[in-house]
Amino acid sequence: MAEQPTNPAPHANRRVTRSSVRFIDAMMKAIVTVGGVGVIVAVTGILLYLTGNVLPLLTPGVARFEQTVKLAALSPKTTPPGGVGGAGAGAAGTTASANVHTIEGGGSAPLILAVDEYRASATMLLRDGRLLWTTIDQTPVTVIKPGVDGVTGALGGKVITSATSISELGAFALGFSDGTIQLGELKYETEFVSELPKDAQSKKLARGERTALIGVEGEAGGWGVVERTPLDQYRVTKPIFTLQSPATPEWPEPAPGASTDAKPGKSVVRIDYRNSVLASYLLLMREDGVAALERVTFVRPLGGGKPRTKLESERVAYQPRADGGSVIPDWFFVNGDGSNALALWKDGRLDRYARRLKGGAISGDDEGLIFAETVQLVESGRTITAASMLLGARTLVIGDDRGHVFGCFASRQNTSSTPDGLKFVVAHEFSSVIPSPVTAIATAGRDRRFVAGHEDGSLIARHMTSHKVLGESLPTDLAGIDAKARAVTVAAFSPKMDGLYAISTAGVLRSYSLDAKYADASLSSLFTPVWYEGDEGPSSTWQSSAGEDTAEIKYSLTPLIFGTLKATVYAMLFAAPIAILAAIYTSELLHPRVRNRVKPIIETMASLPSVVLGFVAAMIIAPLARDVLPGVLMGFFVVPVTTLAAAYFWQMIPIRFRSGLGSGMQLGLVSIVTVLGLTLAIGLSGPLEKALFKPSVNDQLVLAGAVKEVPREQWPEGLKAFASLSSEIAKPYREQGFYVAGGKLVKPEGSVTDPAIAEIIRRERLDEPSMRRWLDGNIGTPWAGWFLLMVPASFILVALVRGRWIDPWVLQFVPRTGLKAALSELAKFVLSLTASMVLAFVLANALVGLGVDSRESIFGSFSQRNTLVVAIVMGFAIIPIIYTISEDALSAVPGSLRSASLGCGATKWQTALRVVLPIAGSGIFSACMIGLGRAAGETMIVLMATGNTPTTSWNIFEGMRTLAANIAVELPEAPSGETHYRVLFMGGLCLFVMTFVINTVAEIIRQRFRKRSAAL
């Protein structure tokens, strides 16, 4: 519209427009413009908003340097002589455990570093048994306090020879030179008081201000930090150090093969402690190479008093290295559930000790941990310089001398011959930009993040699953630290994981605030396969919640996108042909009067709420499809073939009887035939099942349990590598008579005529043909499925061949009109039908010969709420859309073209096929695209008609989980702003972008088509 104001030309005696009219005009223009632009912007703003919510997921975290605290007690010069090491430490030179590592020749690193929840102070347990407490968020105030021995700080004969701590629990374990161990806790306690404690140095605190609280030992104040809260209370945070009474572990007899020349000694040189709700484990190693796994319980004496540490010893069949390496491993770890012990040496060798697997379960008998395997974790020439266990203590994090970090765990492997069927693998590799050796690794207590400290003092925090960098230190942070003593000896996360701490060899504590953003998801973990803990290999899995806190959360959108595609593809396969054919019929062959009645009915179909469709799908269609499954499948083939056959017979009636038929009557006739076809398909269900899915005698015998186990030496070659068998693996050998039952390879034995077996077969109805049992893979061969799949395909193939080559050839010999023509047409149809059956038979045999199982692709095990049901019902939802738009496109083809074609003597069908369709083709394509977009975003049908399991198989008899259904299921429960919430937003964004692209393409094609048809 032109924006020229309607100004009157400057003529005399012109009446001027009333100012109120002008005003209203201008105002309405402003309102409409602002409103219109506003609405358009708001609507398109959705995309921006979704993106804005998703972007934080993709940004790396940031660690901000806060300050350094010089700890004099830790600097190399002031290390008390004899405090570190002792007899035991000489053996390996390091004391390795979760959070503790000493650089050789360096200063004294604290054994344990704990930071309070508010990141105000840090407490360290020193090697001589004293405690060091310091504030870290203000001017440092440092106090040293007697620790383990309680009074002097000198351990009185005892020397700490090993230590370990669990960062999330504040629990730790110490091993001593006299062979005893001691458990304890270093925790923080917070209390709110209304009065400022008298020990606080300063009496005046502003709101939010903190100060160190130094009290005299034993008095109410104690040590800690006090802060005035906005509510005018005082929050006092104090470290609480508790020690259990010492305990002496029972040591098992050294293994028979153990080298006897090891120095007899008592000191505990390796200790590892795991504490979970179910049980606590302590893994110990004595300096002579004897290892023990202790189950820890605390027994409160009857008379009250301090609980006693009770240790129940379990054997660890530790075998010292035979290749000349040191007897004592450099690191020694136990799994969270006590099922694995890992002995790790610096050169990358790892010996794994595990419980034996018996009958599919890990045995709990007294065999204890036995040797499972030896793995070389890093290539030779490299040295492991730091190691720690990740949250849940199943993944081992190691760092090497080139700055690389690896995540390793025991994974399920079919071919593994270890006692527990697992294999230790390096699953994650973090190649570092910092070439300096990793000197310390710390893990967090609440998620799967870890931080690696390097020799040059740099720190880098990452997340194991997402590989995301959560924070890095800058070289400038190290200013003021002696360049040679920058190596990180101890690192730690704060309890809320919002802070990062590192102590360098020089005894300097650096503190960082950590803004990790959304650590557990990254672009790569969302869209590419990730090797999840314990899995066989990298996979794309969606598992947004887990039973326990330590389990790995798996955010991979790939299975959801796959599910969306699967639902869409199958629905389109069902809907598009029906809708397009129906549109052609309506537009080209139906009388307008009938058409005007039919079209609104189908448009009504578009308006049915999808929740109704989903409900009907789940309540009526799913059980129906289950009961007459072969019939439903046959329907896709039988109905069209019946219709075609009926038409061929119809042609035999002379034309003068046929031509009087109105289009309504014709439709009625076709309806009868269609209903007949449907009935036929359902009726064929039983015979078809009987013909194709009958269990063989062998199948019956195996199902009835009449089998004999095959000894391992007689196994087929391909199976010998497997430690444990599943029926999946053994399926190809079924032809040879091998079956898998109860984890064993068996051959059927006996005869179905044996009365006992016959009784079982009769009772369990094992001899009945059943497609569902066939789908589960329990009976039959892949042939039946291939045959079913090949029949329609070869029919189409034969029809194409016929139309291209055979028909023109045959036409030379037969008359073109009359009964003879009709008969020849019919004969051709019957022949081509037979030919396609034969072709399908041949193809199916060929595919079986190639060893491809149809039950691993489109077919597979059956569940009632499956993709077939979704395809049919979602087809229901998109048919009207495709139909309406296609019909519009066909109707938009100018009538003059039709008239011309008909005038030249073409039949209606020829006109439709050769004149109208080519012009309307792009419109029909765009209709399909729009239908596709609708199917991709459909929520309720999928939600109600499938099991919503996120799988990635094309099996049509299994459900799937689509992006939309996933959002509907999980978003209401997801806490706002967290990773899960944002990942779901990411799913929404994917959906938006997918449909937006599809629709835009469709729209552009449609507009082109409109222009073209308008030009004609």
């Binding site: 001027v16 005009d25 919510n53 054919l581 109600m944």
Partner: protein, 828 residues
């Protein structure tokens, strides 16, 4: 619809009709007709029609059948012994058969069937040809006594099926239906008899107002003040073991009992609800006063900034002066013949003045001397006093309310006591246990008022059944849900859906129409406009769940949080008041206001300067200026939104309600807005089409007559386009009414405690959750603990939903087709 006329089959040689002349016509070859392919396409259409007709009739059948009372059967069955003879000690149950199917019999079933076959006692139809056995699903109710309200009974175990006329299905308020036989009505009373305790007969039979009755008495004690009299509790049982008479008496007493129950319900729901509402309002007032006081005190202590009072006066005077100048510089009305175009410079100056006035007014309002935000001594004291007075006022009011509440409670208790006197006994057939008043008191019979309706379908005529049927539909439509939505009605669901749909159409209508008018009438047609058009078309295809995600994130969590708690500080920290924004936040905000003013000025000037002189084309620089102005306006809008979002002077409308959430959660408003957004493309597209269909000639005629643009739109275009707009609107309503996925995220709930509309201010409660037909189908059908029992409700809800949506759509389609006819009739 420019379809070529249906040609008569041209294959027919015309000769036959035109007499003697026979031109040589080659007959159409058979294969050219493509008859088989024609049939195939026809078959596809038939499939479509079959699907839609099948689905509709399925829903119609299930929905129509669900409430029809079925026969109550008395089924006797027992496990069959090894000899194939019917088992001893059979179980007898009363129940309604809901399903019948064949199942794969287990080992025990097979043995029994084999034995029966041998013995020849297998009933006909118990086993099908494939060896599967038949079984019936009986709804046996009586949940207090057994775990399973539904029972599968294999046909071969059934020994006898009867339909006793007195078998009754009792629909109760709680615990689902009870199947039994009426066995008496109990009336309890306490009375004083002028006889000493020893003389009183403890059980007797006599004739009462309802006929013969047996009376059992318990002596309470001697009557006070009346020596020789005794207080006794009487239990009168009428029609004991006379089902017909018991039923008749029950029917007579039932309406009164229901009226009592309704009265109790009314008192509880409405009266007590009102009192609670007022008490809550008092609490909120006090809390708000506390919050204001605490914030002012905190601000005073920390020395938060506020402008001194003299500055405020300066601001007011400056604003007044500017306003005066604005009025003064008003252009004079033009002399006849003079161009009515004000000089750009003057107009710009006036615009600046107006902007200044507005800015100063805002400043003056925010920093007004008696504002709660001023951090001075007086304010703190004033607020402290206000807090005291509010507390005192609330206290007296609450005392009043408490008194009223106590009165209501005693009133309710009185009716309840009366109600407890009337009991009815429905005995189960096997054990003879009767329907208890509640599960914990199995010895006490059911109160009459707890019975929703009784049905004795066996032998009842069609009229009786029809009355039950209609009464069930009546309850379904006008009643409240019972038993976790599996029984009762869906009145709140209907109200929720209707409110939502109306609200949605009220929201979507103006927005959609304005956007369409802009696109068609005002926007410059070009590549940008067509891109926008494509985008809008696309948005119609964006999945509804995406709108739900957007609605949840943007409306519920972002805008809702702003409305509830204001800006800047998160809701969590607001719970522990007072929080005072930092000085710098306030200063930065005012700097932002200044920047906005500058932006507005710049944009105004740019817009003015970009206007070409009348009758001339815009120069190149003017075009660039216009673009700059447009960007400037966008920036203005963005910074205005930012300033509003981060204003330090706004602490939310529902601060007192914290930590309870008001708008920061799912609710009616957000659902309506989300659906409005979802249906906006539908309305825009339909309206645009309708506007485009108005012939250009009509517009030109209007302009030619001297009408202005808006006059043309208002009087010529819109009326002509109205039917099309209505079509879009109805389509939008239908889509909104049937949509469920986004509602699952932004508002619909299983069970809303209160209706979204009520008789209490503000009548329409936009913050409340609501129930929705579509969500109800999903929830009751799939999330219900007892989905079998819920089946009738789900099917009827589905039926209703389809009815609503299909009716809306059908009307839209008919409007559209009549419209098309009209336009085609005129344009050709």
């Amino acid at each position: 619809m420019n379809q070529s006329p249906d040609n008569p089959t041209q294959t027919q040689p015309p000769s036959e009709k035109s007499g003697g002349f026979t031109p040589r016509v080659r007959a159409t070859p058979l294969h050219a007709r493509g008859e088989p392919m024609v049939w195939l396409t026809g078959s596809a259409l038939v499939m479509c029609l079959l699907m839609i007709v099948g689905l509709l009739s399925l829903v119609l059948y299930h929905g129509g059948r669900a409430f029809w009372p079925g026969e109550v059967k008395q089924v006797t069955f027992a496990p069959v012994g090894e000899d194939g003879k019917p088992g001893a000690n059979p179980t007898v149950v009363l129940g309604v058969q809901t399903e019948e199917e064949f199942f794969d019999p287990g080992e025990a079933d097979q043995k029994a069937i084999a034995a029966m076959k041998k013995a020849g006692t297998l009933p006909a139809g118990a086993v099908d040809s494939a060896g599967r056995a038949a079984r019936k699903l009986l709804r046996v109710g009586n949940r207090e006594l057994q775990d399973q309200p539904f029972l599968w009974v294999p046909l071969y175990q059934i020994q006898n099926v009867e339909t006793p006329a007195e078998a009754t299905m009792v629909e109760r308020m709680e615990w689902g239906p009870w199947f039994g036989v009426p066995a008496g009505v109990e009336i309890r009373q306490r009375l004083t008899i002028d006889q000493p305790a020893a003389k009183i007969e403890l059980s007797l039979t006599r004739d009462g107002e309802h006929g013969k009755e047996t009376v059992a008495r318990t002596i309470v004690g001697p009557a006070e003040g009346k020596p020789g009299s005794t207080v006794v509790d009487e239990v009168r049982v009428i029609g004991k073991d006379e089902p017909a008479r018991a039923m008749a008496v029950f029917q007579k007493l039932w309406p009164e009992a229901r009226a009592r129950a309704a009265e109790i319900e009314r008192l509880k729901e409405i009266e007590v609800g009102r009192i609670n509402h007022e008490i809550e309002a008092q609490r909120l007032r006090v809390r708000q006063a506390e919050v204001d006081f605490a914030r002012a005190k905190a601000a005073f202590e920390t020395g938060a900034p506020s402008a001194p009072v003299w500055m405020w006066w300066v601001g007011v005077f400056a604003a007044a002066g500017l306003l005066g100048a604005w009025v003064f510089t008003r252009p004079k009305p033009p002399a006849p013949g003079e161009l009515l175009i004000p000089k750009p410079s003057i107009t710009a100056l006036r615009a600046v003045m107006l902007a200044g006035v507005v800015a100063l007014a805002v400043f003056a309002y925010v920093e007004r001397p008696n504002s709660l935000l001023r951090a001075d001594q007086q304010t703190v004291e004033r607020l402290s006093q206000r807090l005291e007075s509010t507390r005192a006022e609330a206290k007296t009011k609450n005392e009043n309310l408490e008194a009223k509440y106590g009165e209501l409670r005693s009133q309710t208790a009185k009716i309840d006591e009366e109600d407890a006197r009337y009991r009815v006994i429905f005995r189960e057939v096997t054990t003879g246990k009767f329907a208890p008043v509640r599960q914990t008191e199995l010895g006490e019979p059911l109160r009459i008022s707890q019975v929703v309706r009784t049905i004795q379908p066996n032998g009842a005529g069609v009229i009786d059944k029809l009355s039950v049927y209609t009464s069930r539909w009546g309850e379904f439509i006008f009643g409240a849900p019972r038993e976790a939505n599996t029984e009762g009605g869906i009145f709140p669901v209907i109200i929720g859906t209707v409110t939502l749909t109306l609200l949605l159409s009220v929201l979507v209508m103006p927005l959609g129409v304005i956007a369409a008018i802009y696109l068609r009438e005002y926007a410059k047609q070009g590549p940008l406009t067509s891109a926008v058009r494509v985008a809008i078309n696309n948005l119609a295809g964006v999945p509804s769940i995406v709108y739900g995600v957007f609605g949840l994130g943007f409306f519920c969590y972002s805008v809702g949080a702003f409305i509830d708690t204001g800006s800047g500080v998160s809701a969590a920290s607001k719970v522990s008041l007072p929080v005072v924004g930092s000085v710098w936040a306030t200063v930065a905000w005012w700097i932002g206001v200044g920047v906005l003013l500058l932006l507005v000025l710049g944009a105004v000037f740019a817009s003015m300067a970009a206007r070409p002189r009348p009758g001339q084309h815009a120069t190149n620089s003017q075009v660039w200026l216009a673009r700059g102005a447009a960007i400037g306006w966008v920036l203005c809008a963005a910074s205005l939104a930012g300033l509003v979002a981060y204003t330090p002077y706004f602490n939310g409308f529902f601060e007192a309600n914290l930590p309870a959430k008001t708008f920061n959660a799912k609710g009616m408003l957000w659902s309506a807005l989300t659906l409005a957004l979802l249906t906006l493309p539908v309305v825009i597209v339909a309206t645009e089409e309708a506007i485009a269909a108005v012939p250009r000639t009509m517009r030109e005629g209007s302009y030619g007559c001297g009408a202005s643009k808006w006059q043309t739109i208002q009087r010529i275009v819109l009326p002509r386009a109205m039917p099309g707009i209505m079509t879009g609107m109805i389509l939008a309503m239908a889509r909104g009414a049937g949509e469920v996925a986004p509602l699952m995220l932004v508002g619909a709930v299983k069970l809303a405690p209160e209706l979204p509309i009520s008789s209490q201010w503000p009548f329409l409660h936009l913050d409340r959750n609501f129930m929705h037909l579509g969500f109800h189908v999903y929830d009751v059908g799939f999330q219900s603990p007892d989905s079998q029992a819920a089946q009738p409700i789900v099917w009827c809800t589905t039926f209703l939903l389809i009815l609503v949506v299909v009716t809306l759509n059908a009307s839209a389609i008919s409007i559209r087709s009549s419209l098309r006819k009209k336009f085609f009739g005129e344009t050709f």
